[in-house]
Amino acid sequence: MTPVKAETEGRFEVVRADTRLENGTWLADALVDLSLDTDTQKALQNGVPITIELQFELVRKRLLWTDAIVLEKKARIELRYMLLSQRYVVTYPDTNTQSSYATLYSALRQIGLFRDYPLVASELIDDDEYEVALRAVLVKEELPGPLQMLAFWRGDFSLESEWYRWNLRQ
């Protein structure tokens, strides 16, 4: 088993994100700083897969009324540790692709570099002002039952970033 270093605190933070229109589709790019706390690392290195979710919201801004969420999208990325090859495997279920890394840092860095995510087709939105919100969340519901219980009673595995917001049309 891979030893885990001294206690560290996990942190999810969206460092930067933007959108661009390409071939009639608004694509999102994001740079997310991901680091796992000791318990999560320990679980990961003991074969427990963890799922990180990038949650997008497309919000239509309104002057005289509360803003309306017109679109919610979630992109899931699974991270697991292979004991035999001692490599971290990053899997994108949406595209059924994966890559492996020798270090957790490399794997998390790869996950944090989120590119070319098709957010919405341009014809589906009007000329109003739209805001995009993004946050990264460790999905507790994907954890095994016993860990969910710990998450429920002790608040473990509670990793999520603040919402990062920007205008769709920057």
Binding site: A43, N46, G47, S85, P144, G145, M149, F152
Partner: protein
């Protein structure tokens, strides 16, 4: 009392809550067990499951809390059955907690030990060894692949820059056994590639990690997992020629092969699973313990609620019985307990209901009998009250049990209010009662309990002849009987008999004596007339005196005979409404004040009501009385006669009293007792019929005559005549009728 509707609603609500609580708890526990033991993906159920289970437990706690509060309130109010219910609940809970606690503790212990036993140290070490062995085998394979790549790189270096890569590279790939062999210039430019993939897929580009390793070690080798549980070995070496920035990289991709690939995958899978399980055992134990705790808690709560339920079911009939008994003790026989079950308590409830019904029937009978007895008693009392015969009931010890009004009037002695007192005590204050008691004791001394005797008793109003009959009362188990004295006033009866006898005498006298009187008188006068002139003066004077005497005596005898006739004669009553005061004044006027004649004074009640009397008879009564008084006062200096009238209450009725009072010599007690009898007189002259006639006439009016007299002080004769109180001077007719009825 709580309304039935509210009770039903509360009971239904409790049932619904109970069902909901049990359902929630069971569902929650089932899911919790699933989640706690499942190490795979369970979605977002866990939070909801805990909430559902918690809600079930909370509902049960509410139900139990409600029952507990109600039980405590019942205990505080000391409601029937509350203590029994409390004891049952305590006993049930105590019985439940001990085995449940033992099971819980041992379950925790076995759970912990059981889960720990899954993870054997030797298995873990073996698995680690297997991993190390696999890694060693793979390392050899990877190093071999790296060496093959290095050989190919060396061959390329040896061939130099002008080599035809499109022909050399496939050869080198085939010689090295790689699946793919590619030559990169820097990170992104593909110089040449050869692959056994016929599709012509682009080669995997060098990763940052690969470049970093090359910069550090000039070689790179890694076992990379693929999507379909396959593994590949990626190798890379730097070619020696070329500039530093555009160094050529030869990258090879090798498949693990048909034998090693599945084995690697299998080892990887097993190791990962075991590591995950080993890691999850602590949370798994916690999950099991939480699940077990929830099960135990739920079982405990259900059992406690069941304890309340069973205690309520068991104590309810007892509670009803206690309440029913209390109600019966307070006299409520309408209480009926709800029908019991088929057990002994149900039998007890049914028996109680039967007993209450019988008690209620018995009480109803007793009340009926009591009412009947009371009615009979009231009837007897009414009859006794209306009897003119006096009745006195005495206990065996001669204490007064009861007496009727007539007895009180006859003896002028109140008995009611003196019940329970010895009659001897009353006798000391009342001579009439004393006479009765003496007669009674005389017979009792002789052992006679059934006797009849005529007794003459002395009352203030005069002597009365009573017939006293005594009868022994039958004894009961409580009292040994007593006596009933029945008193009949036969004074009037005797008087009437005497009057009848005297009337007969009078008639005979009138007939036998009156007839010869006229011839006697005429003969005497003729003798005087014939002989007077033939005899000398002395003899003539003697004759004259003698004949005069004969004539006077004959006159006197005629008067006497007339008086007898008057006494015997009983013409019809002619009742009219009269003002007695006027009548008295008229009669009194006939006795004006004269020398040596007493003054007749009047003291008349101006409010005297009109009264129905026979004016002739009443006038005679007044004449007789006044004349009697005047005769008694003859030759007395301060003689005076007072005639007064007044309304008086007598024998619970309204009466008019005429009193004729004089201050004459009075009567001795012996004379007073016989003064109303014919031929009884204390005067030197008179027939002795005056007061007898007064009494007769007054009694014909339904009235009473009494005499009070004291020697040397005077005499007072009182006449009492009844009148109806409702009739005044304006209701003459009614009054007349009433008096007529009395006379009749």
């Amino acid at each position: 009392m709580v309304p039935v509707e509210f009770k039903t609603i509360r009971r239904n609500l409790a049932t619904v809550l109970l069902i909901a609580a049990i359902s929630l708890a069971v569902i929650g526990l089932a899911l919790l067990r699933e989640v706690s033991t499942n190490t795979g993906d369970t979605g977002s159920l866990y939070q909801n499951i805990v909430l559902v289970s918690g809600a079930g437990v909370a509902l049960l706690l509410i139900l139990i809390g409600t029952n507990l509060v109600r039980l405590l309130a019942d205990l505080r109010r000391q409601r029937p059955g509350a203590r029994l219910k409390g004891r049952l609940v305590s006993a049930f809970v105590a019985l439940l907690i001990a085995p449940l606690a033992v099971v819980y503790i041992y379950s925790i212990y076995f759970l912990s030990e059981g889960i720990e036993s899954w993870f054997d140290v030797r298995v873990e070490a073996g698995l680690d060894d297997a991993l190390a062995l696999s890694r060693s085998a793979l390392d050899i394979r990877m190093l071999d692949n790296l060496a093959r790549t290095q050989t190919a790189a060396d061959e390329l270096d040896r061939l130099g820059n002008g080599v035809d890569l499109y022909s050399v590279l496939p050869r080198l790939r085939a010689e090295s056994g790689a699946q793919e062999l590619s030559l990169f210039s820097g990170r992104t430019r593909i110089v040449a590639t050869s692959s056994d993939n016929a599709i012509g897929q682009l080669p995997a580009m060098p990763t940052d990690e690969l470049l970093l390793s090359l910069r550090r070690d000039r070689t790179y080798v890694a076992l990379e997992p693929l999507v379909d549980n396959q593994y590949q070995v990626r190798t890379a070496v730097l070619l020696t020629g070329g500039a530093a920035r555009d160094k050529l990289i030869l990258q090879g991709v090798f498949r693990l092969g048909k034998s090693l690939g599945p084995l690697t995958s299998s080892v990887q899978e097993a190791a990962t699973r075991y590591a995950e399980l080993a890691f999850l055992r602590a949370p798994l134990k916690t999950g099991f313990i939480i699940t077990l705790s929830m099960v135990v808690l739920l079982s405990l709560l259900l059992a406690v609620y069941a304890a309340f339920f069973v205690a309520r079911r068991l104590s309810a009939p007892v509670q009803n019985l206690v309440a029913g008994t209390r109600a019966v003790a307070k006299g409520d026989f309408d209480t009926r307990l709800p029908a019991g079950g088929r057990d002994e308590i149900g039998f007890l409830v049914d028996s109680f209901n039967d007993m209450i019904e019988q008690l209620a029937a018995a009480r109803a009978d007793a009340r009926r009998n009591e009412a009947q007895v009371e009615n009979e008693r009231a009837n007897v009392e009414a009859i006794l009250a209306r009897l003119s015969t006096g009745v006195i009931a005495l206990e065996k010890n001669l204490t007064i049990r009861t007496a009727n009004q007539s007895a009180e009037e006859l003896l002028n002695q109140p008995f009611r209010g003196n019940e329970g007192r010895f009659i001897e005590v009353l006798a000391t204050q009342n001579p009439a009662v004393q006479q009765i008691v003496e007669t009674l004791q005389k017979h009792l001394e002789k052992g006679e309990t059934e006797w009849r005797e005529q007794i003459k008793v002395s009352l203030e109003t005069g002597a009365r002849e009573l017939v006293c009959a005594c009868t022994a009362l039958p004894g009961t188990y409580r009292s040994r009987g007593g006596f009933v004295l029945v008193l009949d006033d036969i004074t009037e009866l005797l008087q009437a008999q005497r009057n009848a006898a005297w009337g007969e005498v009078a008639r005979r006298l009138a007939h036998e004596i009156k007839n010869p009187l006229t011839p006697i008188q005429l003969s005497a006068e003729r003798i005087r007339k014939k002989i007077m002139n033939t005899i000398d003066a002395d003899s003539g004077e003697l004759l004259d005196r003698a004949t005069q005497t004969i004539v006077q005596q004959v006159e006197a005898m005629r008067d006497m005979v007339n008086a007898f006739s008057e006494y015997a004669r009983a013409p019809e009553m002619n009742l009219t409404m009269l003002d007695l005061n006027d009548l008295i004044r008229q009669v009194a006027d006939l006795y004006p004040a004269q020398a040596r004649q007493p003054v007749v004074k009047l003291q008349l009640d101006p409010n005297l009501p009109l009264i129905s009397v026979d004016a002739v008879r009443m006038r005679q009564v007044l004449h007789n009385l006044i004349r009697n008084s005047l005769e008694a006062l003859e030759n007395q200096d301060d003689a005076a006669v007072l005639v007064s009238t007044a309304k008086v209450a007598h024998k619970k009725g309204n009466w008019v009293q005429i009193s004729v009072q004089d201050n004459g010599p009075g009567l001795s007690p012996e004379s007073r007792e016989k003064i109303f009898e014919p031929y009884v007189t204390t005067k030197s002259k008179g027939t002795g019929l005056g007061l007898a006639i007064v009494k007769k006439l007054v009694e014909e009016h339904g009235g009473e005559v009494a005499i009070d007299s004291e020697p040397g002080v005077g005499t007072s004769v009182r006449i009492l005549l009844r009148f109806a109180k409702t009739t005044g001077r304006n209701s003459i007719a009614n009054d007349t009728d009433a008096i007529r009825r009395q006379s009749a």
